[in-house]
Amino acid sequence: MSTSTTTAVTAPAQHKTRAQRTTDWKYRWPARYRASWAALAALLVVVVPLAPRAYSGASVELVSALAGVLAIAALGQTLIIMIGALDLSIGAIVSVSAGMVVHYGTDGSNTVLVVLAAIVVPVLLSLVNGVLISVLRLNPLIVTLATFGIITGGIRLWTGVSLSLTGRAPESLSAITQGAVGAISAVFLYGLVIAVLVALLLGKTRYGRQIASVGSNRRAARVLGMGVTRTELSTFALAGLLYGLAGVLLAGFLGTPDVQSGAVFQLTTITVAGIAGVTFGGGPASVASVVSGAVFLQLLDQALAINGLGAGSRVMIQGFVLVIAVGAITLGRFSASGLSRGSRLRRRAPVPSE
């Protein structure tokens, strides 16, 4: 068509003005992506007077390690949310991975092989979710609720209530997960590397753009000739890979994980996605915001715990954080789109009289 090669060559990304660059930046980093960073910054300051002990070496190492695992798991959840689904089975799958590490990683076993298996099995489990959801078109909530039950029951049959009898991760795995650079846990650094890879995948590849497209508008993606099912299935596999990595690192760091260590991820990963401005229902998301959201949630939990708040208050506060995050995003969406979508057929205002 008329966009011939000549015009394509004459319109390069020329020297942008400063104002243009600011505008671009504003759109690439909209408020919903910045919110988790702002929340994290505020929390970092608030914690200084309220819970100074949170900044002690041991505490920082604990928070950063757990935040690293949470970030990886939350990235998996984020991928699922990006294609318009939701994963309630995440906790069970992470537990499977952690459980495999401690169950089979006994003395004399091949640690590499065990770790590999602990990553492949979650990929397969997540793919099962994917086939049920994407191919058979069953509802994601019900499917993952059901697989959550099946997998949880399966773990109990397989390992009993605790995950392992000897109950320890292999030495070599612990060695690389329990290290630290300064006070920052190695797990967090692994998390960062993984996050950078995911960010590159989502931002710099056609496949990554397809994930966001399929989630934004599945019908449009289909009509435009993107392989929708292929994209969705591979996204489930990718999420499974991240769950597996999270489980392995969790097992390595905790040494003696139990079923409960994975279960918390159901609520926490959804909360992190909410804080990070991921749109429930599908669409693009920011990997960096997910990471900062994970750190925020973990640090908040630690600060509250240091101040003597019990598990109940902490879970409750997590719930409120999620409500505030999704509430703010929903309201923001109403005001941003203004009339175009908010006032469809549903809006009822009185007819002004003469």
Binding site: T3, G227, G310, V326
Partner: protein, 835 residues
């Protein structure tokens, strides 16, 4: 042509105060003024036709008068009384009923239920003998027929008849004959005449001037939201009206083009068929722009989609002489067909993504090597397209949803511009686009043809087709009826389908196809799960009895029924939600919270303790259910996310109140629950009675019908005047109530307060309701089914220790049953949907 503001001759009793009157009504949508200071009225005993092109504002006018849309300014009087708020219920209460083109019937309900739904909404009773009433309208179907089993024509007749049954003052008919063949259209005309003679004021929207000539006492032409004139029945000529509809020759400049002569055929369809169109044969040559015209809804859109393999059913498509086998959208694109839909929101634009991402959605390998998408490649591509098409955006990274319709559409058309396909198929290229952007778009399409692409354009704007196209295919009822050569004027195109609408093509009677099995399945779908569950329960019970002599003892049976109670009450509540197409994940934690609360407030069964407990629990219902309703119904947060958050909060409160198990729950209550007649606890009797009452309510009472209607199709429920949001709020509150009652019975089993006892219930509750026939798409489900589902799951709980099965199997079984149930009902739904 004389402008006639004719007052009806037999005035006297028939004044406009008994009909409908709109004064100075203005309604704008972003970027469009749909109605501009419109005056319109219709008096009793007349048919007042309203004509205009697609998008001229007719439908908006109807929606404003019906109370579906609120006008920006102006007034609506019905029967002399002011419509004070945009409410369908209010408008119907004043005596105005609308029959819509796409109908406001709930497809999955029977004819009788649909009539009842409409009558209930304004507090009327359904006629005693509905079949006779329907026969009175000459309708060839019975009240027990499902609406989805009727053909489109029969549905339309039903929509009109249903509106007439209420004997309204004012009847608005929106394109009532669009889906009708000649004989059915004749029949409808008869009905309309009869209603007019009985004194109804009838507003009649139609494309078909021939039938308006026969029917209408007055005729009003509307264009671009402005009334062009009102004429009495004998004072108008078809040609004049068409000119008024079309307007003065537009000053839009179309690109000057030369029609290619004998160029190669790029796209050819042979006997292509699909859902809603065909068989259609057509060709598009290189360098040609070919138009598709027709009145709205005559298969044009379906044809275009069929060409990329969506809902196709057969025929052949070739691109540059190569026949495409097993067509899919992916295949079509790789074979060189680029399709861009005009329904931007639904199937074209990725609203939250950047304008650059949208424009470069189809660039393929040009975005970077090895599957990468590099800014360094995308930005220049987008920059070029932006310049070429004149896309105005603040930044390449601006979300496309924030741009005007015209700019969105230009970004959409940048896709083929950057990809350079062989064939470009565009549906409604300029819908909702301003004049300036239109010209850019015409130029882009024209340039594309000049470069040798074959371009196929569907448009409801005939001026556009006349100005742009080398040839135009005119469609009616899914088939191509005429082919107009280059130079056909706008009015010639309009005339060709205005008159085409009155020719031949017999439509298979009123009834669509429907096999015996399908009807059996659909009509009794609510009862299938009940039968299945009874069989399952019997099978498990018999098997266990053969393996264990403990099972069939009064103690164990009583135990089973007591075990059923908590799950059953929650399942009943959740089933309420499922029917209304809602969802609540927080029930497990609500049950935990209830147990915790009871452990504080109910140390004995004294009157004060009981009263305090009830008060607190009522507070829980209102707080949690109300909070869910606020998030889901008011703020429109997805139900799943909202209730996951509620789950966390409520769970947290429960842990806060009872960090460790403790407290005492009245021993009398613990013992009392298992008291009963023989081994059947009283509470279980109450449960059964309640369940049956609820089932009766759901399937036999008007409010139950409304609940199902909201679940099936909230838009239709809204159109007949149901208060959809109120019903949804009620459902969420009821669900929480069910969880609280379930929690009270759970407390009798725990005997003390514990903060996590309810957590395990989410899974079995969903298993129970899906076993009970619920579907996530709403409307379906049975309370008896849900209760039997709960009994079945409790039975599994009861028998696993007797059969020496590891407790961990329970969750696996629950999960497996849940998956099986939704898979089974999903495939049942597919059988139901396929024709």
């Amino acid at each position: 042509m004389s402008l006639a503001s004719r007052t009806p001759e037999a005035a006297g009793a028939r004044s406009v105060d008994d009909g409908v009157r709109l004064r100075g009504v203005t309604k704008t949508f972003p970027g469009v003024r749909a109605l501009d200071d419109v005056d319109f009225d219709c008096v009793p005993g007349e048919v007042h036709a309203l004509v205009g092109e697609n998008g001229s504002g007719k439908s908006t006018l109807i929606k404003v008068a019906s109370g579906v849309l609120a006008a920006d300014s102006g007034t609506v009087h019905i029967g002399g009384r002011l419509l004070t708020e945009a409410s369908v219920k209010r408008s119907r209460g004043l005596g105005l009923v609308t029959a819509y083109q796409d109908t406001s019937l709930v497809q999955d309900l029977t004819v009788g239920d649909n009539v009842s739904l409409s009558l209930n909404a304004i507090g009327m009773k359904r006629p005693a003998d509905l079949n006779a009433t329907l026969a009175g309208f000459g309708l060839p179907f019975r009240q027990t027929d499902l609406v989805s089993s009727l053909g489109p024509g029969a549905r339309q007749l039903l929509e009109v008849a249903r509106a007439m049954i209420t004997k309204p003052r004012v009847l608005m008919l929106d394109e009532p004959t669009a889906a009708l063949d000649l004989s059915l259209a004749d029949h409808l005309e008869g009905l309309v005449k009869k209603a007019r003679d009985e004194g109804m004021a009838i507003v009649y929207v139609s494309h078909r001037l021939a039938e308006i000539r026969r029917l209408a006492d007055r005729l009003t032409v509307i264009r671009d939201g402005v009334v062009q004139g009102t004429f009495s029945s004998d004072s108008w000529q078809v040609q004049d009206i068409v000119e008024l509809m079309v307007g003065a020759p537009t000053d839009l400049e179309f690109p000057t083009r030369t029609t290619p002569v004998d160029s190669a055929v790029r796209l050819e369809a042979r006997e292509l068929r699909g859902r809603g169109f065909g068989p259609v044969s057509l060709t598009v040559r290189a360098g040609e722009i070919v138009g598709v015209a027709g009145a709205e809804g005559n298969g044009q859109r379906a044809l275009l989609r069929g060409m990329i393999g969506i809902d196709g059913q057969g025929g052949e498509l070739t691109v540059d002489g190569r026949t495409l086998q097993r067509l899919t959208p992916v295949k079509a694109l790789s074979s060189g067909i680029s399709f861009q839909s005009g329904d931007r929101a639904a199937e074209s634009v990725f609203a939250p993504m950047s304008v650059m991402d949208n424009a470069t959605a189809q660039v393929g390998s040009r975005s970077g090597p090895a599957g990468t998408a590099l800014l360094g490649r995308l930005l220049p591509s987008f920059g070029a397209a932006k310049k070429e098409l004149g896309i105005v955006s603040a930044s390449p990274f601006q979300p496309i949803g924030a741009l005007s319709g015209g700019n969105q559409q230009k970004a959409v058309l940048a896709r083929p511009a950057l990809r350079r396909p062989k064939v470009l198929i565009v549906d409604e290229p300029t819908q909702g686009v301003d004049a300036r952007a239109r010209m850019d778009i015409y130029r882009v399409l024209s340039d594309a043809a000049d470069e040798g692409l074959g371009v196929l354009v569907n448009s409801s704007d005939s001026a556009e087709l006349a100005g742009l196209c080398d040839r135009v295919y005119v469609m009616s009822r899914g088939k191509v009826v005429t082919e107009l050569p280059r130079g056909a004027s706008e009015s010639e195109i309009v005339k060709s389908f205005v008159s085409a609408a009155d020719v031949e093509d017999p439509q298979a009677a009123g009834q669509g196809t429907s096999g015996f099995l399908r009807r059996l399945l659909t009509r009794n779908s609510a009862h299938v799960p009940i039968a299945v569950l009874l069989v399952l329960i019997a099978a498990v019970a018999l098997y266990t009895n053969s393996q264990s002599d403990v099972f069939w003892t009064p103690f164990n049976l009583s135990n089973w029924l007591v075990l059923t109670l908590p799950l059953a009450f929650v399942a009943l509540g959740q089933q309420f939600n499922m029917v209304a197409r809602l969802f609540d994940l927080s029930i497990g934690s609500v049950m935990s919270l209830t147990v915790v609360v009871v452990s504080f407030t109910l140390p004995d069964l004294g009157i004060t303790s009981v009263a305090t407990t009830l008060l607190y629990l009522l507070g829980v219902v209102l707080a949690v259910g109300g909070f869910n309703a606020l998030l889901i119904v008011v703020l429109r947060v997805p139900a799943i996310v909202a209730t996951v958050a509620t789950l966390g909060i409520v769970q947290g409160i429960a842990i806060l109140l009872r960090p460790e198990p403790g407290g005492v729950i009245a021993a009398d209550w613990v013992l009392g629950v298992s008291q009963g007649i023989g081994y059947v606890p009283y509470a279980f009797v109450v449960l059964v009675v309640l369940t049956i009452a609820m089932e009766y309510w759901l399937y036999r009472r008007g409010r139950g019908l409304a609940l199902r209607a909201v679940g099936y199709d909230d838009e239709s429920a809204l159109r007949v005047g149901e208060r959809v949001r109120l019903i949804q709020t009620g459902a969420l509150l009821t669900c929480t109530l069910g969880a609280v009652i379930g929690g009270v019975f759970l407390a009798s089993q725990t005997g003390m307060g514990s903060n996590a006892v309810g957590a395990g219930f989410s899974l079995p509750v969903f298993a129970a309701v899906f076993l009970g026939g619920a579907v996530l798409s709403g409307g379906r489900g049975s309370f008896i089914g849900a209760m039997l589902g709960a009994m079945f799951l409790a039975l599994l709980d009861n028998v696993t220790p007797l059969l020496n099965i590891d407790d961990a199997w329970r969750q696996i079984i629950y999960g497996g049953i849940l998956l099986l149930a939704i898979a089974a009902y999903a495939s049942l739904a597919r059988v139901r949907a396929s024709r």
